[in-house]
């Protein structure tokens, strides 16, 4: 297994660890993401055309035949790759690698070529085909920290950048570094089984740094050299 290519020169390198052995597929993270990031519902008609907008989906894998069947769930957010295949194909640099290892997506720069979505091996980028309307007063629920994307813009999981920013902001006020556990993306916060952990892998004492060295570590499509920042811990023993 290849070793990680973390950006060691920065204070922070955000990493998500998803323990597949804990995940029970309940979908709380999906709705948490939807509520936090103003992801709008597209409706049955557009969902039929696979134009749902959710940034995080739970995949399921079946193995074997009835009754000797094995099933596994796999929550799939943007993998925030260190060498992301989506980045080099963007003609306007709307998506790029941020110093903290996040695969940034700048909506106001995006011109909607959809090259990035096409190049993403994980299929986690979503394109706004339409402006989605909210019937009043549903707009009251929208999170003011996150912009509502409009038609023609590509979007994807940000590791809840608004929460990262707020965590760093508070840390700066108190003249310290972000502590382990200060920042929790919406999915990780809501997870009933505590399957999703988030933190700074450049902090050797953080929980994710410890988990990242686990023997159960699994990186999706590692052989493509994407160096994802989402580390899965395999199920089973």
């Amino acid at each position: 297994m290849k070793s990680f290519n973390y950006k060691r020169h920065n204070d922070y390198k955000w990493v998500m660890v998803i323990d597949l052995d804990r995940c029970n597929g309940c979908g709380a993270c999906v709705i948490a993401c939807q509520a936090e990031n103003n992801i709008l519902v597209v409706g049955e008609k557009l969902a039929l055309q696979k134009r749902t907008m959710s940034w995080l989906r739970i995949e399921r894998y079946f193995d074997g035949e009835w009754p000797n069947l094995r099933v596994a769930f796999l929550p799939m957010p943007c993998q925030q790759c260190d060498s992301a295949p989506c980045e080099p194909v963007c003609p306007v640099f709307a998506t790029y690698q941020n110093p903290e290892g996040l695969n940034a997506m700048i909506y106001n720069r995006c011109i909607g070529t959809r090259f990035c979505g096409n190049n993403c091996p994980y299929g986690v980028r979503k394109f706004n085909w339409f402006d989605y309307e909210l019937e009043s007063p549903l707009e009251e629920q929208l999170n003011p920290d996150v912009s509502v994307r409009s038609k023609g813009v590509m979007e994807k999981c940000t590791f809840c950048i608004q929460r990262i920013r707020r965590g760093k902001d508070t840390a700066k006020d108190e003249n310290r570094k972000v502590r382990d556990g200060d920042i929790m993306p919406a999915c990780s916060q809501s997870c009933p089984t505590n399957a999703i952990m988030f933190g700074n892998v450049n902090d050797p004492h953080s929980k994710v740094a410890e988990m990242a060295e686990s023997k159960r570590r699994l990186l999706l499509l590692e052989e493509h050299g994407t160096h994802p920042s989402v580390i899965y811990l395999k199920g089973g023993v």
Binding site: Y96, N98, P99, A104, I106, V146, S147, Q162, D169, K172
Partner: protein, 187 residues
Amino acid sequence: MRKIGGHASLKPRSDIARFATKILAVLAVGFIGFVVFFYAAPFQYSFSVWAPDQPIAYSHKLHAGDLEINCQYCHAYARRSEMAGVPSVSKCMNCHSNLTIDSEQIAKLTEHYDQDKPLEWIRIYDLPDLVWFSHKRHIAKEIACQKCHGPVQTLVTNARLVKHNMSFCLNCHQENGAPTDCLTCHM
């Protein structure tokens, strides 16, 4: 067939070439139009000086300039949060419950207070949704309010004197070594 210009040496263009020129012209106009309409910000971001009428003729010159009241007395959230905050009516009434009560404007203010009716101020500075800006961070760096809001203490009617576009932010960030990563402000 029509001649183009007076030069006999110039061969008249073929129909196809003329058609192509037309297409190109249409495309060019279309492209410029697209760029203008796509990127041109709505009007309140694009004009620099803008001074709408406010429900109460509040004078920054009088309060901040002549009386030298600290900005953060009224905009109390500025040092604590992302927003500067517009003071509540009760804050105005701290002084105006017994100060200049005979003025017409203060009578209006008192009426709002008594009837529990909020004031609806017109926003002067506004950033689009896709920008994240924190007053707290900038005040912690001791950046003067005037740097972004102009000489507010000289204005009788508050006006937008500074255009808050991306280059305005970036210039300052670059000069002062502040982060210029896109994700610093955009999300």
